[in-house]
Assembly symmetry: C2
Homo-oligomer: 340 residues x 2
């Protein structure tokens, strides 16, 4: 079935089902000029938006609709997670080329709804239109967090310990496997591919970190450790020293790198799209935080280095030598374009 | 200068200037994972989003950047106006093809900022990315309105008078002139072209109507009178009767239609993109409302008919005969595509 067969309003009706998960305090969702709802008084409202385009962020003909929808929403929820917020309402704009099947679009929304449902997020509205060339998806997510708990990029302080909530580089290695399209080498490495196509937002972890009141700064790793840590040090007016041997690398990535004779550090440092959280905390509170975090999530926090006053990122290499590293990472206009 | 020369962050820095117009209560704008700000307790938060794509909603090579930016924001503000709300924060996502000049993009943002500044709207964040083919703009606007004043589509009641805040059809006639590209016929008809390229959102008018507490339903005319009145009658479970001779037609449109031997009603009924407001009020309050409105805006409200219980839109033609009309209008997937 093609979209032109059911028309715009038919399509909206079709996608509306299952969108309202938490109807309390919602006055208007899909169907009016704008969505309307109450926010809790005293709360900070968080808004994030991401635009994803065929042939730039994904390859429509090589990505399932479900995975595309899931990841499109996940990258937005990850931004709310990085602020320590609760994700509340999502707004989805989509531009659809003439040859795009309804079934595919249906799966796009099913991917979104699956994730939205898991985190209690409403898809409250959006826009649908046609496109002459590429499939385009823009998602805006509104969240909230109490003022005193909000995690920002600009609070890192000299002496802070730098912590990560998970492994780095898996997503980039997964992309590598998908691009090479070699099923035999992928065997046993499905975890890497999943890290790339179905990244989980660390919302509950972000909220936990925010509630502890000891985190000075936080960001999600979307562009790569170098780039995102670069944002922290620039906005906090500090520096950072990280240790090659402390970078958390999954067993899957280690296996993958052995197979391809690659250095996992390169994937971890520049890869991006891992969507784990990076935060900085006073060094005397890092251990206690790690302990509480393990108790809550049954996972450790990985300490990878400390905040300095150098104004740059220094890497302590395996041999003990210190090297200054450029905060390189994903840049939409300067580098070769990335596709899934 | 091309975008690749200054890079993504250079571009963001460039467009950030002048975006924060009302900094009170803003905790985070461009530069963090999400924007963060306080909403007034008790207020309803309104959110609207519009996705605009080259060759569908506009023709980049035939539209100035300023006009494109201005209109992209205006259509969103119009949705907030239709709810009686105050527009507060805007979020702009933009996907940029490789051959797009910085100067053009700069003018796009200048157009947005000009309008944003007029209505006290912050551009608080967004996303920038590359595009393989078309320029894409997605804008999300967050507004607020008190619960008791909010204007919705579903409140129209049998017996209500249907009122418009301005002329219909000018925008569509302007598009016609632009498409024909005949400067000599456009002479003296610049008002029509302006109605199409620089539509004003009726924000102050919407807020005024909301405060009167007598408006039962409202919508902005984006898809055409037929289509948008169709939304009102469907969601309110009523019907409508409108009068051919009461449809407000500007002198410019009358002149244009005489020149081209066209019926202004067709432009008014199906044209769309006028972004005036349509509202329904109890018939015994329509006169008083019109009087107060004139006093405030020095403009009349145009009564074009009444709400019925017929479940359909009836048109009383010039000869007095009643004809049922289909709520036709702009549909992104069913009709020939519209371009500026």
């Amino acid at each position: 079935m093609l979209l032109k067969e059911i028309g715009e309003f038919g399509f909206i009706k079709k996608i509306s089902r299952g969108c309202l998960i938490r109807p309390q305090n919602i006055l208007k969702s899909i169907g009016d000029d704008a969505a309307a709802f109450f926010m809790n008084p005293g709360d900070v409202t968080l808004v994030t938006t991401d635009l994803l385009i065929d042939r730039v962020h994904f390859l429509r003909h090589r990505t399932t609709g479900f995975n595309l929808g899931y990841k499109s929403l996940s990258v937005n929820l990850s931004d709310i997670a990085a602020m320590g917020g609760i994700a509340r309402e999502a707004f989805v704009s989509i531009a659809i080329p003439g040859d795009c099947e309804i079934d595919y679009l249906d799966m796009v929304y099913r991917g979104m709804k699956t994730l939205a449902s898991e985190f209690g997020v409403n898809i409250l509205g959006g826009d649908t239109t046609s496109s002459k060339a590429d499939l385009v998806i823009n998602i805006t997510v509104i969240g909230s967090v109490s003022e005193k708990e909000m995690l920002c990029r600009n609070g890192a302080q000299h002496g802070d310990t730098i912590l990560l909530t998970g492994f780095l580089g898996d997503s980039q290695a997964g992309l590598h496997l998908l691009s090479e399209n070699t099923p035999e080498t992928s065997k046993g490495l499905e975890g890497l591919i999943n890290a790339h196509i179905l990244p989980k937002p660390f919302l509950k972890e972000g909220q936990f970190l925010a509630r502890q009141r000891c985190v000075h700064a936080a960001i999600d790793i979307s562009d790569g450790l170098g780039s995102d840590l670069g944002h922290i040090i620039k906005q906090s007016n500090v520096g950072a020293r990280i240790y090659h041997k402390k970078i958390p690398v999954s067993k899957n990535l280690a296996k993958f790198c052995t197979h391809f004779h690659l250095d996992p550090f390169n994937y971890a440092f520049t890869g991006g799209e891992d969507y784990i959280l990076l935060c900085t905390v006073p060094s005397d509170k890092a251990k206690r935080l790690d302990k509480d975090y393990r108790k809550r999530f049954n996972q450790p926090l990985y300490a990878i280095g400390e905040i300095t006053d150098s104004g740059k990122i220094e890497l302590v290499q395996a041999n003990g030598q210190i090297r200054e590293v450029e905060p390189s990472g994903w840049n939409h206009f300067k580098t070769v374009e990335k596709t899934e």
